[in-house]
Amino acid sequence: MEAVLLDEIIETVVSLKPEERRKVMRALQEEERKTKTNGGKGYVHPNTVWIKEHHTEYAGKHVALKDGKLIAFGNTIKEADLKAKEKGVKNPLLAYLPRADEELYCGGWL
């Protein structure tokens, strides 16, 4: 995009009323949340975004995620997996979300 056009856009946004600005901000934030192509640097998967935003709520649980949405959760990976299958979701990302005070280990191959 040309710098002049970008400046015009910024100037326009700055001159908006507060409620209009909030609407623009919400639209931009929503766009940021959507899946991006990962042709270049800076990509992060929607499932990763969900984990960053919700890991404290589900700490110590196993979650099943699909396209950045929680499908199911449980105390074991099997529980989360079977619940996701009951909902008809195939091949979700299955992840354990450790508690904040839980020590994670990496074993002997360092």
């Binding site: 192509t37 990962n38 042709g39 270049g40 640097k41 800076g42 990509y43 992060v44 998967h45 499932n47 990763t48 984990i51 960053k52 890991h55 995620l65 990976i77 099997k78 997996d81 079977l82 299958k85 091949n91 979700p92 990302l93 299955l94 992840a95 354990y96 450790p98 020590e103 994670l104 280990y105 990496c106 074993g107 002997g108 191959w109 360092l110």
Partner: protein
Amino acid sequence: MKLHRLEFEKLINYDAGLNGIPLNVELRLGSNSTAFEAKIDTGSSFCVFERARGEELGLEIERGFLRRISTVVGSFSAHGHGITIIVGDFEFDSLVFFAADESFRVNVLGRNGWLNRLIIGINDYDGKLYLSHYESE
């Protein structure tokens, strides 16, 4: 004596004389992928890979789920990302961690994200690794 029996879909032969049990791993994210060798590590809470592997996938490493991971000699920072992990014919989406420090040379397949996604049998005497999906998968 009661005998227990398991049947496996896949047998992978490895060199029992090597240090560790190395496997060919592919990580995938959209159209990007990277392939390398990683070792099975039952003592690792998660799969941990070197930073460069995540960057090859086009990830911005620091936007992941930050945690510190302990070792016998200290700890290091790593960022968790949701990606697809492929070993042999077994492919699934998991949360794995990439070391924050680019000089950190770590590539291990740990418990959460890999070991808990497969039924695994190890015959280290003969260098044979057996793998299967869970029946529910």
